[in-house]
C-alpha cells in the first residue's frame, strides 16, 4: 500500500495542528539519558504490545496478535516474538517473509536481505511496510470499551424489558438521564423534532463510544490507551459523520452549497468553492478537535511527570503531582465535553443537511 494519500492528509493536519512534530528525529537514545519527548510520543502513539510495567529492568506486557497482509497473503503471529524489540534488531519469519518492528511500525524485509539498512534520515532502505491489520493496544482497548458499552447498555435495555411500567432502576436509572440528554439537548434541537429519531442511534453510539474511550485514556494503569487521541480513530468517526451528512443532504442542502439562494449571481459563484471546501472542513475539524484535545491532555500530564526525571530530583514531585492532578481533573471534564462537542456538531451537520427551505 502506498501512503501518498496519508502524507497529503498529514501536511493538511500539520497546518492546523498546534503541535509540530515535523522535526521529530528518530535517534536511538542512550539508556542513561531520559528523553521526555520519546517517552511522551511512545505513550500517546499506538503500539503492538500492551506494555503494563517494567519488572527488574524487563518489561511486563500483554502480547497482542500481529496481522499482516503481504504479497504472499495474510500472515499472523504474536507480538511477543519481537521480544519487546522496537529497533528493528529481531527478525521474525512468518509465512515465508521476514518482518521486523521499528518504532512501532512493522516492516517487511525485501527478498534475500537478512538485516535492515538505513539511509541518513534513519529510514529503512531495504524494507517496506505491509498492510498492518494488527490488533494493537488501541484496537484491544477499543474492544474492551465495546465490551463495556455492550454490557452497560444491554443491561440497561433489559431493565426496561423486564419492568412493565418501564421505570428505570439500577444502571438504567443512571444511564437514562444521559440518553435523554443526548436526545433532548443534542438530537432534538440540532436536527429538529421530526427528523431526529433516524439519527439517534448514531448520535448515542458516538457519544458513549468517544466518552468511554476518553475516560479509558485517563486511567493510568491502562498506560496510554490513547484511542480517542489517535488520529485514525477520530478520522474514522469523522468519515462516518461526513458520509451520513452527505447522504442525508436534501435538495435545499445542495442548493446552499452549489447555488446559494438569496445572493447575487457573482456572489453565488464566489461562495460555491467556499461551500464545497466547507463540506470537507466540517468533518476534518471534528477529527482534529477530538484528536488534539485528548492528545494534548495526555502530553501535558506526561510532560509534568517527566519534570521529575528531567530535573533528576524527587523534590519536584509534589509540583508535578499537584499540577498533573489539576490537569487530570480538567481532563475528566474534557472527556465528557469532547464527546459532547463531537456529537452535537455531528447532529448540527445532520440538521443542516436535512433542513427544509424556509
Amino acid at each position: 500500500m502506498k501512503f501518498h494519500k496519508t502524507s497529503i492528509f498529514s501536511a493538511l493536519f500539520l497546518v492546523v495542528s498546534f503541535f509540530s512534530f515535523g522535526n521529530e528525529k528518530e535517534i536511538i537514545e542512550d539508556d542513561a539519558t531520559f528523553d521526555p519527548k520519546a517517552m511522551i510520543l511512545h505513550h500517546v502513539k499506538d503500539a503492538h504490545e500492551f506494555h503494563l510495567w517494567d519488572w527488574n529492568g524487563s518489561p511486563v506486557s500483554l502480547s497482542l496478535p500481529i496481522i499482516l497482509w503481504t504479497d504472499n497473503g495474510f500472515t499472523s503471529f504474536s507480538s511477543s516474538r519481537f521480544r519487546h524489540d522496537d529497533e528493528g534488531q529481531i527478525i521474525v519469519k512468518s509465512n515465508g517473509r521476514k518482518f521486523l518492528k521499528l518504532h512501532e511500525k512493522i516492516y517487511q524485509l525485501d527478498e534475500g536481505v537478512s538485516s535492515i539498512n538505513y539511509d541518513l534520515d534513519h529510514h529503512p532502505t531495504n524494507a517496506h511496510k505491509p498492510i498492518d491489520l494488527s490488533i494493537t493496544r488501541n484496537v484491544f482497548m477499543m474492544w474492551v470499551s465495546v465490551a463495556l458499552l455492550l454490557f452497560i447498555f444491554l443491561t440497561t435495555a433489559r431493565t426496561y424489558k423486564k419492568s412493565k411500567d418501564s421505570v428505570p432502576k439500577g444502571l438504567a436509572g443512571f444511564m437514562e438521564p444521559l440518553i435523554i440528554f443526548v436526545r433532548d439537548e443534542i438530537g432534538k434541537p440540532m436536527i429538529g423534532e421530526h427528523k431526529y429519531q433516524k439519527y439517534m442511534p448514531y448520535l448515542l453510539t458516538i457519544f458513549f463510544f468517544i466518552w468511554i474511550n476518553n475516560i479509558f485514556g485517563l486511567i493510568p494503569i491502562l498506560n496510554g490507551a490513547n484511542l480517542s487521541g489517535n488520529i485514525a480513530f477520530t478520522f474514522t468517526l469523522a468519515v462516518f459523520t461526513f458520509v451520513i451528512t452527505t447522504f442525508s443532504g436534501n435538495k435545499n442542502y445542495w442548493k446552499h452549497i452549489f447555488w446559494m439562494p438569496g445572493v447575487p449571481v457573482p456572489m453565488k459563484i464566489f461562495l460555491m468553492p467556499i461551500e464545497i471546501i466547507g463540506m470537507f472542513v466540517k468533518p476534518i475539524s471534528l477529527m482534529i478537535r477530538l484528536f488534539a484535545n485528548i492528545t494534548a491532555g495526555h502530553v501535558i500530564i506526561l510532560a509534568l511527570m517527566s519534570l521529575i526525571f528531567v530535573f533528576k530530583t524527587a523534590a519536584i514531585a509534589p509540583v508535578s503531582v499537584a499540577f498533573s492532578l489539576f490537569i487530570t481533573v480538567i481532563e475528566i471534564i474534557v472527556t465528557a465535553i469532547q464527546a459532547y462537542i463531537f456529537t452535537i456538531l455531528s447532529a448540527l451537520y445532520f440538521g443542516m443537511a436535512t433542513e427544509e427551505e424556509h
Partner: protein, 164 residues
C-alpha cells in the same frame, strides 16, 4: 509525523468495530430504551391529559349540580308561590261564597220574617176583628138598652180603636 498520520489498521478496525457497535446497540439497546422512554413519556402525557379531563368533568359536574340546585330552589319558590296564591284564592272564594250564602240566608230570613210578620198582622187583625165583634156584641147587648149610652160608647170605642 506519524502521530498525525491515520494508520490504516486502526482505521480499518475502528470502522468495523464502530459499525458492529452501532448495529448491536441500535437494535438491542437504543431502540428498546428510547422506545420505553418515549412510551413512558406518552403515558405520562396521556395520564396528565386524562387527569385534566377528569378535573374539567368534575368542574362541569359541580357546575351542573349548582345549576340543578338553583333550578330546584327556583322551582320550590315557584311552587310555594303558587300554593300561596291557591290558598289565597281558595280563601277568597270561600269568603265570597260564604258571604253570598249568608246574604242569601239573611234575605231568606228577612223574607220569612216579613211573611211571618204579615201572617202575624193578619192574625192580629182577625183577632182584633173577632175581639171587636165580641166587644161590639157585648156593648151592643148592654147598650142596646139605653140608646144614648149606646151611641156614646160606640163613639168612644171608635176613638180608642185605632189600627196599630
Amino acid at each position: 509525523m506519524d502521530l498525525i498520520t491515520p494508520g490504516f489498521g486502526l482505521v480499518f478496525w475502528t470502522a468495523i468495530t464502530f459499525i458492529f457497535l452501532l448495529l448491536i446497540l441500535g437494535k438491542f439497546a437504543w431502540k428498546p430504551i428510547l422506545g420505553a422512554v418515549s412510551e413512558r413519556e406518552e403515558g405520562i402525557k396521556t395520564a396528565l391529559a386524562s387527569a385534566e379531563n377528569a378535573r374539567k368533568e368534575m368542574e362541569n359536574l359541580s357546575a351542573d349540580n349548582d345549576r340543578i340546585l338553583k333550578e330546584a330552589r327556583l322551582e320550590r319558590q315557584a311552587m310555594l308561590k303558587e300554593a300561596r296564591e291557591l290558598k289565597n284564592n281558595m280563601i277568597e272564594t270561600a269568603k265570597s261564597e260564604a258571604k253570598d250564602e249568608a246574604n242569601k240566608l239573611i234575605a231568606q230570613a228577612q223574607l220569612a220574617i216579613e211573611a211571618e210578620k204579615k201572617a202575624a198582622i193578619a192574625d192580629l187583625k182577625s183577632a182584633v176583628a173577632k175581639l171587636s165583634i165580641k166587644i161590639a156584641e157585648t156593648v151592643v147587648r148592654e147598650e142596646l138598652a139605653d140608646k144614648a149610652k149606646q151611641e156614646k160608647l160606640v163613639e168612644s170605642m171608635l176613638q180608642n180603636a185605632k189600627l196599630n
